[in-house]
């Protein structure tokens, strides 16, 4: 293949054997919701932490007729999203979009789109640390045993510590969930605002962790419950003001510094949603205040 003058890739970069291996892991992950399936993660032409796991999952499930959307913290226009989208445009030649409704495969870092997902769509998460018990129990042998025996008391110890220290469960992202009444799962660093969207979602949700070599999944319509205490129930993040650009409420907002004198505004984290709102005539308090890409940092 390399003998021709121009460099050509197999469809979606990975060779077919690798894709079969990844697909086997995905099938197992779907069969056992929330269970972390080890897989032979490959070196990808990007650094760890940039979505190597998600890219391998996407490469394995994407077909020629699929339409791909890539978001990074909700936005289509940030470095990570743009480069992964270009990667698949180049190596798979698939159609890409920024529209949630038009996409069949959505690769995401940190967010679930505001527009409801539908049956037939696949949401692929990039996961840095798949093990929810990792910072409580450093031994992998022990965490796997704890999953096998459903010993999840320690997860509540973490939540207990939060309440003891802060008066409430202070974890706002990577908030642990129980999938299908069995496995406790780390939903990657998505804000807890998005946790309820995972519950019984009609879309297939796949999670890929490249460095940690794990794939896990939530099949469509699976029960996903955020862990909590009876007297400190799970609460979705609430925002006091609407999006400054489109005026939307009940959506996840990013805080944006607008100058060096303490000026700030809150805008939709989901850029596609925000643009659609404004196109439909919705207006926020500061509709002309900059473009979405100004507001990004990395976390």
């Amino acid at each position: 293949m390399m003998s021709t003058a121009t460099v050509r890739y197999n469809f979606a970069f990975l060779d077919e054997q690798t894709k079969r291996m990844v697909r086997r892991a995905i099938l197992k992950a779907i069969a056992v919701p929330g269970y972390q399936v080890p897989f032979a993660s490959r070196e990808m032409p990007m650094p760890y932490g940039w979505g190597t796991g998600g890219v391998q999952v996407t490469a394995s499930v994407i077909g020629q007729t699929d339409v791909l959307k890539v978001i990074d913290q909700g936005a289509d226009d940030t470095t990570n999203a743009v480069s992964i989208r270009q990667f698949f445009e180049k190596t798979a030649g698939v159609a890409t979009t920024t529209s949630t409704a038009d996409a069949t495969v959505i690769q995401t870092r940190h967010r679930i789109p505001e527009a409801p997902l539908v049956s037939g769509q696949i949401l692929v998460y990039q996961v840095p640390i798949p093990e929810p018990l990792r910072f409580l129990e450093p031994r992998e042998t022990e965490t796997r045993r704890m999953h096998a025996l459903e010993e999840y008391g320690l997860m509540h110890v973490k939540l207990y510590e939060d309440i003891a220290r802060h008066g409430h469960i202070a974890k706002t992202y990577a908030y642990p969930v129980k999938v299908d009444g069995r496995y406790v799962m780390d939903p990657s660093p998505t804000p807890k605002f998005d946790n309820p969207k995972m519950d019984r979602s009609p879309a297939l949700q796949l999670f890929g962790a490249g460095r940690e070599k794990r794939i896990y999944a939530i099949p469509p319509h699976t029960h996903v419950v955020s862990l909590d205490f009876d007297d400190h129930p799970f609460e979705r993040t609430k925002f006091t003001e609407p999006c400054a650009l489109c005026g939307a409420t009940g959506v996840y907002l990013d805080e944006v510094l607008t100058d060096d004198r303490g000026g700030r505004m809150y805008v939709c984290s989901d850029s596609d949603f925000c643009e659609r709102q404004r196109a439909a005539g919705f207006v926020g308090a500061e509709p002309d205040a900059g473009t979405p890409h100004l507001r990004r940092g990395t976390t």
Partner: protein, 262 residues
């Protein structure tokens, strides 16, 4: 001192043997323990007493022999025939293990309350207020001020850590507790206070306990019966006062006479 189902023992060990390659850890040790009874295992370093404790508490598998335990449902089971899940449930509910080094028994980066609450959450407690109340109760029972509940054990003194470890183990009301040199590394006044506390708790709760120690004073204060070990063998066993006041085996005589009389 025997209470409850006095006619059948809580724990029975039969012919427990552990070889580390050609080295003998312990050889052909048998014992029975009834509810509410405290057994001390004494001997010098390397006599096999810690090996014995690890075998009884299933942290080691024996080369030969078996350990039978009467479960809460009254059935006697060989603890090495339990499934991994059953064994771990037993370890964190019906049993306790107090380590010499509190750092092994505690989570040092979790608050005192979290440490005490861990076992409760592991058995399904999901009400923060109740867990916290239970932790407060237990901390007061082991004489830790309630305003230390949110402090990490790293900020505790050695004696406090040991008391916290005991509270952490007792919160699920176990019937049997293993202690490995519980007073080791503590100064004598702190030791005395801890021993006093443990004696009270063991009597109040009707706990059965197996205490490994090289300190005969600890054995004298806490235990009803005593086993003297040397080179992996039990060389003498009996009522604590009897063995310490009238030792028969030459080694026991040596051990008893080598305690400094102040």
């Amino acid at each position: 001192m025997i209470s409850g189902n006095a006619d059948s023992p809580l724990l029975r060990a039969e012919g427990l043997t552990k070889h580390y390659g050609n080295t003998v850890g312990c050889e052909d040790v048998s014992l029975t323990l009834y509810e509410g009874e405290v057994l001390a295992v004494v001997g010098e370093s390397g006599s096999g007493k810690s090996t014995l404790l690890s075998l009884l508490s299933t942290h080691l598998t024996p080369t030969r022999g078996r350990v039978l335990y009467r479960m809460r449902d009254g059935r006697e089971r060989d603890v090495f025939d339990l499934t991994e899940a059953e064994r771990r449930v037993l370890l964190r509910t019906d049993w306790g293990f107090v380590h010499q080094d509190a750092r092994l028994g505690l989570r040092m980066n979790i608050s005192a309350g979290g440490n005490v609450g861990e076992r409760l959450m592991a058995v399904g407690w999901r009400h923060y207020g109740n867990i916290r109340q239970e932790a407060v109760d237990w901390l007061s029972r082991v004489e830790i001020a309630h305003d230390r509940i949110d402090h990490r054990p790293t900020t505790f003194s050695g004696g406090m850590r040991q008391r916290l470890q005991i509270a952490k183990n007792l919160v699920t009301q176990p019937r049997l507790i293993f202690m490995d040199e519980p007073t080791g590394g503590l100064d004598v006044s702190v030791q005395a206070r801890l021993l006093d506390l443990m004696r009270g708790l063991v009597a109040d709760l009707g706990l059965a306990a197996i205490i490994v120690t090289h300190d005969l004073a600890v054995a004298r204060l806490l235990s009803h019966r005593i086993m003297v070990m040397r080179h992996g063998h039990v060389i003498e066993a009996g009522l604590t006062d009897q063995v310490l006041d009238d030792p028969h085996a030459p080694y026991t005589q040596l051990l008893v006479s080598s305690v400094l009389q102040v």
